[in-house]
């Protein structure tokens, strides 16, 4: 048996897994459907909780993947995996087929398409944007409304497409709360006079240093927190957005005018991942993400021996978790290849 491993996806988990496997002597082929590696991180400005520049992470991952044992194909998507005689045929979108002894699925996530929440008017009201749009504004150091003016009042809406069965997603995307807090603080830094509000259902600040960030946002940045999910958005004659929410802590409906509204889009199973799941017969869960063989002790294993998962293709994760999960996937792959050899 050889040590040929195909890694599907060149985001955080794919790059980390590829790097780990290459260092352990595997012959790794990475397929990334985009023209560049780096996944969603390359669209982000600063990262929570320490406000690290996302380019630092990309540099680390870039070094990882720059290895003699790694062949990288960008702009090529994987369409299917088929087991054949103890190894796998991996089919790519450009019509090629490559043989692998093991496969790491690291297809990541797609951001929830915020226009599906019709009541928020994304794609209809110009000044309703998403968290990803805001990161692009941070990078350009230009937080502007559609007409080019500087927003005075900015709202961040938590749980857009998460914890929302009507949007098809029962689960919590886990990272939007802390993203909102980070983004609120960054807005306050970019625009000194801006008033910033977070509309949340619960503050799910479960990660390392998240609660500390929340406290800092309250104490030093004066961010307003209003508990209640935004129910609908409209626009008035002055092109201000009118946000309706129940302030559940006073138990009363609340109306607020907002200049720029940022939707914290949740994480969903990627379309590419869905396609692979279907063609390869890989199990998916109720949340549509890939379903690990066991949630406790086999979170990298799939229902097909030799096919492993790394990162957010299994559930929403932050970068730290995606990297750890990818390393664990590499360990599982090595274990599997060693056993196959004997």
């Amino acid at each position: 048996m050889g040590r040929r491993v195909v890694v599907i996806g060149g985001g955080v988990a794919g790059m980390e897994a590829a790097g780990q496997l290459a260092r352990r002597g595997c012959n790794v082929t990475v397929f990334e459907k985009e023209t560049e590696t780096g996944g969603h991180v390359k669209n982000w400005f600063h990262l929570f909780p320490d406000r690290k520049d996302s380019r630092d992470v990309l540099r680390y991952l870039g070094n990882k993947i720059n290895h003699n044992n790694i062949t990288l194909f960008t702009g090529i998507a994987v369409e299917g995996i088929r087991p054949s005689n103890g190894s796998f045929s991996v089919f790519t979108g450009d019509g090629n087929e490559i043989t692998a002894d093991a496969v790491v699925v690291a297809t990541g996530f797609d951001l929830f398409r915020s226009e599906k929440k019709e009541e928020y008017g994304y794609g209809i009201y110009e000044n309703v944007i998403t968290s990803a749009d805001l990161e692009r504004m941070f990078r350009k150091d230009q937080i502007r409304m559609h007409d080019g003016s500087i927003p005075g009042k900015i709202g961040l809406v938590h749980c857009v497409g998460s914890r929302d069965e009507k949007a098809g997603n029962l689960y919590c995307s886990k990272l939007c709360c802390v993203t909102a807090v980070k983004q609120a603080m960054e807005i306050a830094e970019h625009l000194e006079d801006a008033k910033v509000f977070c509309f949340y259902m619960d503050m799910r600040m479960g990660g390392a240093m998240y609660e500390e960030l929340y406290r800092e946002a309250q104490e030093n940045y004066g961010i307003g927190f209003i508990r209640g999910k935004v129910s609908e958005v409209a626009q008035n004659i002055d092109n201000k957005l009118i946000v309706k929410v129940e302030d559940t802590l006073t138990g009363r409906p609340l109306k607020m005018e907002i200049d720029l509204l940022v939707l914290m889009a949740g994480m969903e199973m990627s379309e590419g991942g869905k396609k692979i799941a279907q063609s390869a017969g890989l199990d998916t869960g109720e949340n549509r993400f890939f379903k690990p063989a066991d949630l406790h002790f086999a979170s990298n294993e799939s229902n097909i021996k030799g096919v492993f998962y790394a990162g957010t293709c299994t559930m929403p994760m932050n970068i730290t978790e995606a990297i750890s999960h990818a390393r664990a996937a590499a360990a599982d792959v090595m274990d599997y290849l060693d056993k196959q050899k004997n």
Partner: protein
């Protein structure tokens, strides 16, 4: 406002509206409050477009008002509606055209109930059979009559004598569209364009040359709310809702309000009188109130019908300011005359005259 975004939403809520052969069911209150509307609809469909709309004189109220006022139980109203379906079956029709939004909501609610709980449907079959000996089929297609006018909006535009343009300024009229809650809020898939950005009335307004106003409280209930309005002691809630809605549209200087629901038309029309009496406020320009029209009345004006044949004089808020903007000629002396020329009593203290 990004029009493309709205079009994307509308494309998700395309509803199949049959071209012809309808069993037509009337509204309880429209015939007295807006007597020209249903008449115009039937004449236009039958005589101008040559469509087949059948009415059965044994059709009754759907009892929706009683249902929403908690005096008619769900099983009773299901059986009443089942009887309508039986009349329809007996007349050989498969498409139903419903003139009332309350009824439309009742019909959709019942049909959805039967889809999810087939045992309910079987029970109702039994109730109806025991009570009347009748049997029924569930309609193949259900359209509100505003859906049907929407479907033929371009045909109306092609025959238009008056576009929705202010003749003096050449600017399109500012029109508020108000959709009855029970049209699509319960089941967005049954409404043209869904519930968030309904297309049914805005499509007509744009096809006929007007401009649709998107104001903050466009989704808000007119205030009718059945038991809020029906019980006198509760009417403060109803009126307060209506005031919220009119205050929100006021800055846009609407020339008129277009509605597709009998309750909304009635309430938004008559409550303007009440608001004026109680609070001394009007929401139109120049101290005037805002005319509230049904889609049939508006289609009739666009097609050049005589406003008095359309029944506009029976509204609380009179439409003369709107008619002047549209450049429609009318004879004030004919306003309260019967079709054979006899003078009827003239109401006192009319609004907007």
């Amino acid at each position: 406002m990004i029009e493309e975004g709205k079009k994307r939403v509308w494309s998700d809520y395309q509803k199949e509206i049959p071209d012809d052969h309808y069993f037509y069911v009337r509204s309880c209150i429209r015939q007295s409050f807006f007597p020209g509307s249903e008449q115009f609809f039937l004449r236009f469909m039958r005589d101008i477009l040559g469509k087949d709309f059948f009415e059965n004189p044994s059709h009754t109220t759907c009892t929706g008002i009683g249902y929403h006022a908690d005096v008619v139980p769900f099983q009773t109203i299901q059986t009443v509606v089942a009887r309508h379906f039986a009349l329809m079956k007996e007349s050989g029709y498969k498409n139903i055209a419903i003139s009332c939004v309350t009824s439309f909501g009742i019909y959709t609610e019942i049909i959805e109930t039967w889809k999810h709980f087939p045992q309910e449907l079987e029970k109702v079959r039994e109730f109806l059979y025991k009570a009347t000996g009748r049997e029924f089929d569930v309609p193949e297609n259900m359209a509100h009559t505003s859906d049907i006018i929407y479907k033929f909006r371009d045909e109306i535009a092609a025959k238009a004598k008056n576009l929705l343009i202010n003749k003096k300024t050449g600017e399109p009229l500012n029109i508020v569209e108000h959709i009855g809650c029970h049209y699509a809020k319960m089941f967005p898939k049954y409404g043209v364009g869904g519930a968030e950005f309904p297309r049914v009335l805005s499509g007509m307004i744009e096809a006929w040359g007007g401009k649709v106003i998107d104001y903050p409280e466009r989704r808000h209930c007119c205030g009718f709310g059945f038991r809020q309005y029906l019980v006198q002691a509760n009417r403060g809630y109803s009126l307060s809702n209506t005031i919220k809605k009119f205050s929100s549209m006021q800055p846009y200087k609407p020339d008129m309000v277009l509605t597709n629901c009998p309750g909304c038309t009635m309430l938004m029309d008559k409550w303007q009188y009440t608001m004026k009496e109680m609070e001394n406020v009007v929401y139109g320009e120049n101290g005037e109130s805002i005319p509230v029209l049904t889609y049939e009345e508006l289609a009739g004006l666009v097609l050049g019908y005589n406003p008095w044949d359309l029944g506009l004089q029976y509204h609380m808020v009179q439409s003369e300011p709107l008619l002047r903007k549209l450049g429609i000629e009318y004879d004030p002396d004919d306003k309260y005359k019967t079709s054979d020329g006899r003078q009827m009593p003239i109401p006192e203290n009319m609004i907007n005259v």
